[in-house]
């Protein structure tokens, strides 16, 4: 039954919508972790999701580096090494001064391992977390389980944070595991050429522990907002792809800058990224409302 709303009713509706979004109770972290744990449990059950994502991580962290570094350091194809060595000349002086190893194979392997594969550490977690995050809220709505959450005592902020954690963990864990495997591969293949195990370098530790997490958080805060607002998981994934792509490019360039730059550069970059992440997360909390979980909010 369609009726035209009076101005009074329209005002009331708007204020009602605001009330939907405003929950002032303190955060219950137990419930937040419950939401996160349940989402992760479902993800583990979804082989159709984690198998491709594991392959993606393996491809970037293990297979490509292993083949390239092994080819350069062990097979010693002179032409290939010569060509890659030429590209090292375009590295900034600060980076070139850090190169270790006496032989061209050693220097080339070191440069590839430390500088040129850096973006991998950004692309993999952002891709995985974006894929998880895009489906997380709209998925509840599509499966009808949003109704259960909307009627539950869990606060909208707890649900948002739970979803955020559940989206962040797969990407970050994949990166942590991949990073470990990558470190072993690098040390085993390039280490002997440069005088022993050398990886991870200080810059890589900073990038993994200080720079990457805020970029993940920024990306996910945007993706979760989209997931709360769109009509379907497919739409969420398309839209989040558009959002995350530029972010991946920014993160890519920032990661490169972290590794090439002076010691204070990565700390500053990370600090700025954290500030943006905190702001973006605090704004993103508002995107989860009960009416959105139910799929009755205007615009859905």
């Amino acid at each position: 039954m369609a009726k035209t709303r009076t101005p009074k009713a329209r005002h009331a509706h708007d204020s009602g919508r605001k009330r939907d979004a405003r929950e002032t109770a303190p955060m219950n972290w137990g419930r937040t972790l419950t939401v996160a744990r349940t989402d992760l449990k479902q993800l583990i059950q979804a082989k159709d999701f984690w198998v491709p994502m594991t392959l993606l991580g393996s491809f970037f962290f293990v297979i490509i580096p292993a083949i390239l570094l092994f080819t350069i350091t062990k097979i010693g194809d002179v032409e290939v090494v010569a060509r890659v060595s030429e590209t090292l000349e375009v590295l900034p002086e600060s980076a070139q001064s850090q190169l270790r190893g006496e032989s061209p194979e050693g220097q080339t392997g070191y440069a590839l391992a430390v500088f040129l594969f850096a973006p991998v550490a950004v692309i993999v977690p952002l891709t995985i977390s974006t894929a998880v995050g895009a489906a997380t809220i709209v998925g509840e709505r599509e499966r009808g389980t949003g109704e259960f959450l909307a009627h539950s005592p869990a606060g909208a902020r707890e649900i948002y944070m739970g979803k955020l954690i559940a989206s962040l963990i797969p990407g970050y864990v994949t990166t942590a595991v991949g990073f470990g495997l990558y470190s072993i591969i690098v040390n085993v293949t390039v280490g002997p050429e440069v005088g022993g195990w050398f990886f991870p370098t200080a810059q890589w530790w900073i990038m993994i522990l200080w720079v990457l997490p805020p970029f993940l958080a920024i990306c996910l805060s945007l993706v979760l907002r989209l997931s709360a607002r769109v009509k379907s998981t497919a739409a969420a994934q398309q839209a989040s792809g558009l959002v995350s792509l530029p972010l991946i490019m920014i993160a890519y360039s920032q990661a490169t800058g972290v590794l090439f730059g002076a010691g204070w550069v990565p700390l500053v970059l990370g600090g700025v990224a954290w500030m943006i992440a905190i702001f973006s997360l605090s704004r993103g909390v508002r995107s989860v409302t009960r009416s959105r979980l139910l799929g009755v909010a205007s615009g859905i």
Partner: protein, 340 residues
């Protein structure tokens, strides 16, 4: 008579965009009762439940549950004291039955201790789903899912159960079993508010009914009292081999109204004790009576009487008079858009 109200919805309206889903809705649910929201699809029943838990806030009017406003910070307290079964079971198909119940147990504050596990097993046993708890819910039948959703709704021992078409999609045997379980649940003082568009389902279960249409309540109260309001005098249907002979009854004492159609007549009498006298009179005049059926109004009769009074349009509304034995109808007239 003062009744303790668990739910007191007064003059609530709610819009979705420019569509008004609820219009000045009033619902009162007394403590310890089974109150049935009765209405066709689109009547606003589901939206009403969402207002009661605070999942949605009213645009106008007030909703009080346990004396609290669920649309405010008190909503968490209200939701913790409610158990909800929505029209779709709202279960996580990729998780096992156990994990679904555990998720609810943790969200409702039962924690992860042994006591919570015991409570999960107990609730599952009540609804006969305990043997399937280790299986993934995606493989459950509709009946099993409904039972699991019901088990989930009582895990935290809620004071108020909100059941939105709880037998939807169930076979008749399962539906009857579920309705019996619902009846049992009120035995220990729980209050139940149930939505349905199946009149047969509400019959015999409802202590109170609220007839809804187009987002508003047309009528509410106890079925017996409401029937008296619509049929203040007893009604009897009498049939004879020659229907015209029944016109004689119009002259008899105690007959307040007579409507004849073909071989039968519908009589309103001052008391049912009058019926033997009337039959004796007919027999003495040589009338061969073939059937005498007192009319006991059902919820279905009541519902359609209300609809007729409101001048509802839509699907065909059965004629008045309560033809006993008529199969219960599913209410199909749609009002506001949406599932409800």
């Amino acid at each position: 008579m003062d009744r303790e109200l668990i739910v007191d919805v007064a003059g609530v309206s709610r819009w979705f965009g420019d569509v008004q889903a609820l219009t000045n809705l009033t619902i009162e649910v007394p403590k310890g009762s089974i109150t049935v929201l009765l209405g066709p699809n689109g009547a606003g029943k589901t939206t009403a439940i969402r207002m009661i838990t605070g999942a949605l806030a009213p645009d106008e009017g007030t909703a009080r549950v346990f004396g609290l406003d669920p649309a405010t910070a008190d909503g968490e307290d209200v939701r913790r004291r409610c158990g909800v079964v929505s029209a779709k079971p709202s279960l996580y198909d990729r998780l096992s039955g156990w994990d679904n119940l555990r998720y609810a147990a943790e969200l409702y504050g039962l924690g992860r201790r042994d006591a919570a596990n015991d409570r999960i097993r107990e609730a599952a046993q009540v609804f006969g789903i305990d043997a399937a708890l280790d299986h993934q819910v995606g493989g459950y039948s509709t009946g099993m899912k409904t039972r699991l959703a019901l088990a989930r709704s009582i895990l935290h021992d809620p004071e108020l159960l909100l059941l939105d078409e709880p037998t939807s999609g169930l076979d008749p045997e399962s539906a009857v079993a579920v309705l019996e379980l619902i009846r049992d649940m009120t035995g220990d003082g729980r209050t139940v508010l149930m939505c349905t568009h199946l009149l047969l389902e509400a019959e015999g279960l409802a202590d109170e009914v609220v007839v809804m249409q187009h987002g508003t309540s047309l009528l509410s109260g106890q079925p017996g009292e409401l029937s008296k309001r619509y049929w203040p005098t007893p009604v009897v249907h009498i049939s004879a081999t020659n229907g015209a002979d029944l016109d004689l009854l119009g002259q008899e004492a105690g007959v307040e109204a007579l409507e004849r159609a073909n071989d039968s007549a519908r009589l309103e009498v001052d008391t049912l004790d009058r019926v033997p006298e009337l039959l004796a009179s007919l027999t003495n005049r040589g009338v061969r009576v073939t059937s005498v059926v007192p009319f006991n109004p059902t919820l279905e009769d009541l519902y359609f009487a209300v609809r007729r009074e409101q001048g509802s349009s839509g699907d065909e509304i059965p004629p008045p008079g309560g033809s006993t034995g008529r199969p219960s109808r599913e209410l199909t007239t749609s009002g506001a858009p949406g599932r409800n």
